[in-house]
């Protein structure tokens, strides 16, 4: 697996074993503790994976082609060109074009092997089935996507690079409001991570959510208490600042979710989150969110699509801010 130039052809059980080893190798230390639970899911995924070798210069997919398979780079390097002048080069153990597979859209870019590449293909529908049957897989995918974005955000903060505050440069004042269930459904529905979720799932979330009103300057949570709560702003404005850097990292207004990625990776505590004006916020326990996700796997898809879009916009910002910026597993360059 490690050397794409001399990959022996494998068949049947041997190929499955290689696929399983590859999948298991993607797990973090904590996730290895769940290996027994994950084993049958990995066996199913490994069974449905297929191998493909690409010579240097061969195209993996072109812009506009349907994206219905996850493409894991087992060895070699793949260059992805979306025609924006920026080239992303993906190395080993990275999924290429995964965002569009999740979003069920067409490839917005062309991917080309720049070294001999060994690729593992996994059909999207198989992944969805396995996620549905073994929610732990969906949870791991979600957590890993969130970890990626958190790490990038932290790296940017460490380098004193802060993405422009989202959408609103000014504080939006919020009137006090008592929300009925429909208001909650609409607020959640308008929130990017739940935008593609079925309304039944959103209704369940809305029923579980609690309405909280925060005064100007009031913190949404206590620094000392571990945060396992999703905050969706309904009216008003909420600001998040890095506790260590003491610099404003993001501002959230109506129908925005406060760093869901940080909530899922249990790192929201690294931020100080305060209402900057009187604000109404929907508060949802992350366990409740995960329970609803387990019943409605489309909520996971919706969240993954939103998180991936957020990640891409952060990468774009990082590149714009610094030509030599690096992201683990991805090399960024400008087209000559």
């Amino acid at each position: 697996v490690t050397d794409g130039t001399h990959e022996p052809e494998r068949t049947g059980g041997s190929a499955r074993a290689v696929h399983e080893i590859f999948l298991t190798s993607l797990l973090g230390e904590d996730e290895l503790l769940d290996l027994e639970t994950l084993a049958p899911a990995f066996a199913r995924l490994a069974e449905s994976m297929s191998d493909e070798d690409f010579a240097k210069g061969e195209v993996l997919y072109r812009t506009g082609e349907p994206a219905h398979e996850f493409l894991f780079v087992a060895s070699g390097e793949v260059e992805v060109d979306a025609g924006t002048g920026v080239i992303l080069t993906f190395g080993e153990r990275i999924v290429v074009g995964g965002a569009e597979v999740m979003a069920r859209t067409k490839h917005p870019s062309t991917a080309t092997a720049i070294t001999p590449v060994h690729l593992l293909r996994l059909p999207q529908n198989v992944m969805t089935e396995v996620m549905e049957d073994y929610f732990i897989i969906a949870h791991i995918m979600l957590r890993n996507a969130c970890r990626g974005i958190q790490a990038l955000r932290l790296d940017l903060a460490t380098a004193s690079k802060y993405p422009p505050l989202r959408a609103h440069d000014v504080v939006v004042s919020g009137a006090k409001k008592t929300l009925n269930l429909v208001d909650r459904i609409l607020a959640l529905r308008a929130c990017a991570p739940f935008h593609l979720a079925p309304v039944q799932a959103i209704t369940n979330l809305a029923e579980l959510a609690k309405e909280r009103t925060f005064a100007a300057g009031e913190a949404l949570f206590d620094a000392e208490v571990p945060v396992a709560t999703v905050f969706v702003v309904v009216t008003g404005t909420v600001e998040a600042a890095h506790r260590q850097e003491s610099k404003l990292a993001a501002r959230f207004t109506a129908n925005e979710c406060v760093f869901l990625d940080a909530v899922i990776t249990a790192s929201l505590g690294e931020y100080e989150v305060k209402a900057s004006v009187p604000s109404v916020v929907l508060v949802l326990d992350v366990d409740d969110l995960l329970d609803v996700m387990e019943e409605h796997i489309e909520v996971v898809r919706s969240t993954l699509v939103a998180i991936t879009a957020e990640y891409e916009s952060l990468v774009a910002f990082a590149i714009a801010a610094d030509d030599s910026w690096t992201v683990p597993g991805i090399r960024i360059s400008r087209k000559q």
Partner: protein
């Protein structure tokens, strides 16, 4: 609501032109060939003695190989459409040419052979083309109609031929037939383009001559092999029937009346065939399915042949047998045969059909003719004997038809798999690791990639090949590799790693040291405990302290001062020390630890901290519980189910405790006082037991649980149990639930239709409630169907229903049709007949309004307008739907609807509460 559509001609938008054109082509082909046959028979009997017929059959059979091979190659090179045009033109030219030459006996012999070859070639090429133009679902509806074109062609061709022959010399028919073939060629040329009718590139196998590839074609497709058997037997049977009919008629009817008799009888048969084609064939295929309809004709022949045999060859019985043949052969039999071919992938179909229809059928004819000739020569060909032969062959025909189901389903399974891009999910042995795979994993142990090394160790250990991990791996530099390796070694019976493990117990890296100490303890090597007692790592100290306490034979371990010290710690290192203690408990499997765990849990509760310990602690707690397997832990484990963290591990604990834990779960499920947060997770926890009792409990919950969410979870759990274990499932309950869900799906579709909501293109609604109502209904429509598929999965545990479900959502007609045919064929048992009917309606490619009309008898009263729909929905049993519909109704300002809302609220006060919850104290107006 639109009235039910006329189902007599089920031709849908975009299908009429191509169906009509196909019917016309077949009309010309069969009409032309009938004229050719009439001329052939008349010329042959005047020029040659009847015994020459045997030679003709042999010649046709021999040349069929050549013609079929040439036809297959032609299709490959120029495509199906052009191949048919070319063949028709050649046939037209040769037919016209024959009229210009002197018709000597040799020429007539050749003409007979030519006609026989044409009879095999043209229909085969036509149906090969049709198979590319229509999907299985379309074929079911349209092939009957197209075949009717052929039947009418036969009637008209025979009529014209009779008329011409009565007024002009027989050879006049030849140029006329030639013109008809040219007409057919023109019709093919103008056939509307629908899909790619060109043939795929030749594979190496396909480049080999047809005859040489015969065995490989059938070896690779058991279904084609059965189709070949079916064709061989059916051809022989109908030849025997024909002989029985003619020989009996010749014996029992005076020669001077034979002509008139045959003319009248054939006319009757042609009309019967047409009627069957128009009114019976499609209905039979629809009702019985393709595989059921295949049996109808041989069943009729068996009854006819049997009665004829028993009555010593009674004329009425023989006429009835011939009647079955004449009525069904070119109608139902032809349609079902072509539908069966549709299931075969295009490449195999092209090749197989050419061999079967043009070669094997002819060989069968020749062989049967030889047998009949032999019997007649030996004076053994009595009507009774031939009737027995017919009945016997019909039984063989039925037997082959019955064996079609399995390979037929397999073809759709494969088509669905390929059509949805997945591999086979069900047919692999999960825990099997062959030598080659094990070697691969061992190779990976030498990888430079640390994650890969760990993954390879995990794979080997999990598949019972942990002994292949060399102890030398403990020399690895990477702490993660060392930790995982000692974990695996500690749980094994191996001893070879212990010297290296003891070295690691003194490793400067704390996590490696702890892992090594734990592994050594689990392996029974506890010499290092005293040395480790003063370790700088608080987790190791706590672990070791508990182990030391455990070794002292205190009766109540919980009272041991060391343990008490651990239980009462309140400093910042609590978490690490607690973890150390919990690890220690799980590594020791000491029954005395139960009291320690209980005191720990109660102490936590008393401190008001029962909720959210860290993931690692919860998992480890669960492992400890699993290690002690004490029923006293059941209440705690059950209460933990409401928390996501560690839920899977808690389930494992409950399963490890066994029947007592299952009893508690069942009791909790049935107790209305059980908190909802716990109850929701009970069905999946029960499913984790994976035994018959779990299955029975879940079946009960599936039907009786008051809350929909619990019923759904019971269904999911049931799916898990049946997929993993051999358990008995009451099919009738599943079928009933399936019907209930399919009816619910259709009922909700009816409401969406009535509300004027187009499922395909969402329109903007005038208010929030309308939009919400639309989306809620759409979700429920999908959920009901999803539940029906999941129920199907429960009774067809070996089938990949989910893949079929994915296929049914495909944008490709052919993939969808394959999915629908798969489900249809699967539901062949009597107890799932209603489910089959409803699935057929649900999966049919028709507009929602038409779907509702088809399902009318299942749905009862349905709304005909938006107002009707809202008036019903405000009384819906789903309170959320009822409340949102009420809000939408009030927003429309309609007095009658407003009154209905008021009435509904008075009848169901709970709606007011839900309405307030949804829309606030004041309803939207």
């Amino acid at each position: 609501m639109a009235p039910p559509p006329a189902r007599f001609l089920d031709v849908r938008e975009g299908e009429s032109r191509i169906t009509l054109a196909s019917g016309i082509i077949l009309f010309f082909i069969v009409g032309g060939h009938t004229m050719l046959e009439t001329a052939r028979d008349a010329l042959f009997l005047t020029k040659l003695p009847p015994r020459t017929l045997n030679l003709v059959y042999v010649a046709i059979a021999a040349l069929s190989f050549v013609v079929a091979g040439a036809s297959a190659q032609l299709i490959r090179r120029v495509g199906r459409r052009r191949a048919l045009i070319a063949s028709l033109v050649v046939v037209a030219v040769v037919t016209a040419g024959l009229s210009a030459v002197a018709l000597t006996s040799r020429v007539v012999f050749g003409f007979y052979v030519f006609s026989g070859l044409v009879g095999g070639l043209l229909p085969t090429q036509f149906w090969t083309l049709a198979a590319m133009l229509f999907t299985v679902g379309e074929g079911r509806r349209l092939f009957g109609l197209i075949t009717a074109g052929g039947v009418v062609g036969g009637v008209v061709g025979a009529g014209i031929a009779a008329l011409v022959v009565s007024r002009a010399p027989v050879p006049v028919l030849l140029p006329m037939a030639s013109v008809v073939f040219v007409g057919a060629a023109v019709a093919v040329a103008f056939l509307p383009a629908r899909s790619d009718t060109s043939a795929p590139a030749l594979t190496a196998e396909q480049k080999t001559p047809l005859v040489l590839g015969l065995t490989s074609t059938f070896r690779s497709s058991p279904f084609l092999l059965r189709l070949a058997a079916l064709t061989v037997i059916s051809t022989a049977t109908v030849l025997a029937v024909d002989y029985l009919f003619k020989s009996t008629a010749a014996r029992q009817i005076p020669p001077e009346k034979l002509g008139a008799f045959f003319a009248r009888y054939y006319a009757l048969l042609n009309i019967a065939s047409l009627l069957v084609q128009l009114f019976v064939a499609s209905k039979l295929v629809g009702k019985l399915g393709v595989l059921g309809a295949v049996v109808v004709m041989p069943l009729g022949l068996f009854v006819g042949g049997g009665v004829a045999a028993l009555t010593g060859g009674a004329l009425a019985a023989i006429l009835s047998t011939k009647g079955v043949d004449g009525s069904f052969r070119y109608s139902l039999h032809r349609v079902t045969t072509e539908l069966l071919y549709l299931a075969v992938p295009a490449r195999a179909r092209d090749r197989g059909k050419a061999i079967i229809e043009a070669v094997l059928a002819r060989l069968s004819q020749a062989a049967m003719a030889g047998i009949l000739f032999g019997l007649a020569s030996l004076h053994l060909g009595s009507s009774r004997t031939i009737s027995f032969i017919v009945a016997g062959l019909a039984v063989a025909w039925i037997a082959v038809a019955v064996t079609l189901r399995r390979p037929y389903l397999e073809l759709f399974r494969r088509a669905i798999r390929e059509g949805t891009l997945g591999g086979d999910l069900r047919d692999f042995a999960m825990d099997e690791l062959d030598i080659e795979s094990a070697e691969t994993a061992v190779e990976s142990l030498a990888s430079r990639n640390v994650d890969e090394v760990i993954a390879a160790m995990n794979l080997l250990a999990r598949r019972n090949h942990g002994r292949l991990i060399p102890a030398l791996v403990l020399y690895h530099d990477e702490p993660r590799v060392l930790i995982r390796a000692v974990q695996l070694f500690g749980d094994s019976f191996r001893r070879d790693w212990i010297p290296l493990g003891e070295k690691l117990a003194a490793d400067p890296r704390g996590d490696v040291r702890f892992a090594a100490i734990r592994a050594l303890v689990r392996a029974g090597k506890e010499d290092m405990l005293e040395a480790a007692e003063k370790d700088e790592d608080p987790q190791i100290r706590a672990y070791v302290s508990f182990q030391i306490a455990r070794r002292e034979n205190t009766e109540r371990l919980v009272d041991h001062p060391r343990v008490q010290a651990l239980l009462t710690r309140q400093n910042a290192q609590d978490e690490l020390e607690t973890l150390g203690m919990i690890y220690s408990i799980s590594d020791s499997s000491d029954p005395r630890s139960v009291d320690v765990l209980i005191e720990f849990i109660e102490g936590n509760r008393a401190r008001g901290n029962p909720g959210r310990p860290t993931a690692r602690l919860v998992r480890q707690m669960a492992r400890s519980l699993a290690a002690v397997k004490d029923p006293r832990m059941i209440p705690y484990a059950v209460s933990r189910l409401q928390f996501r963290e560690g839920r899977e591990s808690v389930r494992e604990v409950l399963v490890s405790i066994g029947e007592l834990a299952l009893n508690t779960l069942v009791q909790q499920l049935e107790d209305p006082a059980t908190p909802r947060a716990v109850r929701l997770h009970l069905p999946r926890s029960i499913a984790a037991f994976g035994n018959q009792r779990a299955c029975d409990v879940l079946m009960r919950a599936l039907v009786d649980a008051p809350e929909g969410a619990v019923r759904y979870k019971a269904l999911r759990g049931l799916g898990n149990v049946t997929a993993a274990r051999r358990v008995r499932v009451d099919r009738s309950i599943i079928a009933r639930e399936g019907v209930k869900n399919l009816v619910e799906h259709l009922r909700l579709v009816a409401f969406r239709v009535a509300l004027g909501i187009d499922a395909e293109s969402r329109v903007m609604f005038e208010n929030t409630s309308a939009k919400l109502l639309d989306e809620l209904l759409a979700d429920k429509v999908n959920q009901a169907l999803d539940r029906a598929f999941r129920l199907l999965e429960v009774i067809h545990r070996r089938e990949d229903i989910r893949r079929a479900q994915t296929a049914l959502a495909s944008t490709e007609n052919r993939v969808r049709a394959n999915g629908a045919e798969f489900i249809d064929t699967l539901l062949s048992r009597r107890d799932t007949r209603d489910m089959k009917t409803l699935f057929r309606i649900v999966l049919d490619d028709i507009e929602p309004a038409e779907r509702i009309a088809l399902a009318a008898e299942w749905l009862g009263d349905l709304p005909e307008s938006r107002m009707d729909a809202l008036a019903s929905l405000i009384k819906d049993r789903d309170e959320v739907i009822a409340v949102v519909a009420a809000s939408y109704s009030l927003s429309l300002g309609d007095a009658a609807l407003s009154a209905a809302v008021q009435e509904s609220r008075e009848a169901r006060p709970s709606l007011v509460e839900v309405g307030t919850h949804f829309f606030g104290p004041e309803p939207t107006t």
